[in-house]
């Protein structure tokens, strides 16, 4: 364990949903402990649930480690457990080194007292004595950039100033392990840059960071390893790129569950029997790599004979903006009359889509497009995903994936 800063070994934590029962359980546990009895923490009592269950991981000294997951997954609870605020009900946590918790910046600030007073108090709470804080006082004030408001009660501070002061005190206490819960998102741009710099400095001096963020780019850039948790359980741990990939995939899968509120309507002269997506090998799939081949195949059944129907294919973003519309009537040739079962295909040689989930619609209408025989509106979707072997493709926002290249040699001095 010599090079480990944090070791979390099969740790669980339970919480109680009911306040009344929580009081009773609290008193019972205290009573039992005082009588020298164990409190049987591994048993769930009525209305209790596991907020964290069976989580294990290790963080090496000098490493940046990220916790990712949706809101309510238990990231903050876990961070609080590393800090020793919550005590595990199962398992064991070992922390080597002094901790600098940035779980809630400015916790412990008294609104009525001035910034100056609060610096002293906050530092004392974080375990820093008088002399040390006097030495670093000017540095803290400079970093927080609160200048002339130093002697103003903090209740009159803007939320940005409040956070800056809190962060400044915490980092200048020079802990060996910094626990950061999504604070960069609060300050303005210049402060964010400052924080980022401070964190980099921190890492280069061989200290350790455990980091919670919803900014997955930062996670990948700053942290070597990460842990993805969901509903208090470990889903995936390892290299931060892989973890972020798994996390993103799971978010996409959840969207699928929520999204499919498609509509089916039409007069029924022609019915869509089946919609398939095929890859370049002709295999049916719903996941494609960016820039890969996609083929749509629509199996229909024309119950009545219809003249020159048109097939329409639309791809949408999640907020139902149309990205692509293709219509069979655009073809130079006429489709002619159809009757009975048949199929029609639409090919895209290379889909220029970014990672994401794309709903699509298929529609069959008469030659004017006014009368709809059958329509699958948003009934289907496909996913674009680089696959776990292509993680070097950085995730960028935007709907389209364009394989552009930077020409770094073209810079002029």
């Amino acid at each position: 364990m010599s090079d480990l800063a944090i070791k979390v070994d099969r740790v669980s934590k339970k919480f109680c949903k009911s306040l009344q029962k929580s009081m009773v359980y609290g008193l019972t546990d205290i009573g039992r402990n005082l009588c020298g009895m164990k409190s049987d923490p591994h048993i769930l009592r009525d209305d209790e649930f596991w907020a964290i269950k069976d989580i294990s991981f290790e963080v090496k000294r000098g490493e940046a480690f990220a916790l990712v997951g949706a809101n309510g997954a238990g990231k903050t609870t876990l961070l609080k457990m590393l800090n020793g605020i919550f005590w595990p009900d199962e398992g064991k946590i070992t922390v080597k080194g002094t901790l600098g918790p940035l779980i809630a910046v400015g916790a412990g600030f008294h609104p009525m007292l001035s910034g100056r007073d609060n610096i002293y108090i906050n530092a004392a709470i974080l375990g820093i004595g008088k002399k040390e804080i006097q030495k670093r006082f000017d540095e803290i004030v400079a970093f927080a950039d609160i200048g002339k408001f130093l002697d103003t009660p903090v209740k009159h501070y803007s939320s940005g100033m409040f956070v800056r002061l809190g962060f400044a005190v915490a980092v200048h206490c020079e802990p060996e392990i910094l626990l950061i819960d999504e604070i960069l998102s609060v300050g303005d741009m210049s402060f964010q840059t400052k924080c980022k710099k401070k964190m980099d400095q921190f890492l280069t001096s061989g200290k350790t960071i455990v980091y919670i963020s919803h900014n997955l780019d930062t996670v990948v850039n700053m942290c070597q390893r990460a842990l993805f948790i969901q509903e208090g359980r470990m889903v995936y741990a390892g290299d931060s790129k892989n973890v972020v990939y798994e996390y993103r995939k799971s978010v996409l899968n959840q969207e699928k569950r929520v999204l499919s509120h498609g509509i089916r309507q039409g007069s029924g002269e022609v019915v869509i029997k089946k919609v398939e997506l095929l890859d370049q090998n002709g295999e049916a799939t719903d996941t494609f790599k960016p820039m890969s081949y996609l083929k749509l195949k629509v199996h229909y059944d024309a119950v009545q004979r219809v003249e020159n129907p048109q097939f329409r294919f639309r791809i949408f973003t999640n907020d139902k903006t149309i990205i692509v519309e293709a219509n069979s009537s655009d073809h130079s040739e006429q489709l002619g009359a159809i009757q009975g079962p048949g199929e029609i295909c639409y090919e895209i040689p290379s889909i220029p889509f970014n990672v994401g989930r794309y709903p699509f619609s298929v529609l069959i209408a008469d030659s004017t497009g006014m009368m709809v025989y059958d329509a699958h509106e948003h009934l289907h979707e496909f996913m674009v995903d680089p696959g776990s072997d292509n993680l070097d493709i950085p995730f960028r926002s935007g709907v389209l994936f364009v394989p552009g290249q930077w020409d770094l040699n073209s810079k002029t001095l």
Partner: protein, 284 residues
Amino acid sequence: MEHKHTVVQTYEPDNCLRQGYFTALKEIFNELFYNKWLIYQLFKRDFSAMYKQSFIGFLWIFIMPILNVGLFAMLGHSGIFNFGDINVPYPIYAILGLAYWQIFANGMVACGGSLTAVGDMVMRIKFSKKCVVIAAIGRGIVTFLVQLLLIVFLFMFFKIMPSKGALLMPLFAIPIIVFTIGLGLIVALLNSIVRDTGNLLTALISFYMYLTPILYAKPKVGILNQLANINPMHYFIAAGRDVVLTGHLTEPGGFIVSTIVAFVILFFGLMVFHLTETRITERI
């Protein structure tokens, strides 16, 4: 590297059960010693915030006892209330008693509510929770010291000379402080889990005040006499008052026993608190 100095912390369920009382005691003292500065800062936070948005600020420290004593002096003067046998001017007797009493009364309310008052902080940072409770007694001590001025003024007003023992007055506050912190730790712990504790405490304290001979002399017979005989606060206050007025204690035995009781309660309070404080955060 500074590996030698690296602090290693381990969190495990029920880990209070793994250590003996001696280890726990050592831990408690290390923790308190290490956190002296924190206790002072917490006290300052509490104290300087108290009178921040107030015009007359510190004067409140004088107003409360004067109102209380004035009321009782009036009741006594009109014969509704019988003080008993007091051979010094009543205001001196009563304000002396109240000065000691408020260390306990203010202290209990402040200590008992201290953890819930900083509940937000407890949820977000790990720090020594004992220090919060201990720092809460500070306000009562300062009030006591400030009220000494009032007492000096009263002696001058009535043109009476206190005994030389009056200089020891602050010393006699120590058992009360010890007693209050001991009880306060347990009340704070219970209050953080069950809020009824705080309300119950406020009710009990005013009840307790009238049972303790503070605003009246200890009766010679009757139920109040018997209760005073087993009441540590009575011994603390009586001794503290005796030392100022006459210079020698009327009930030294009771005072010594009560002082021992106070230290036992402090030990017990610290121990209970130390062994169970890991459970506070999730219930607060």
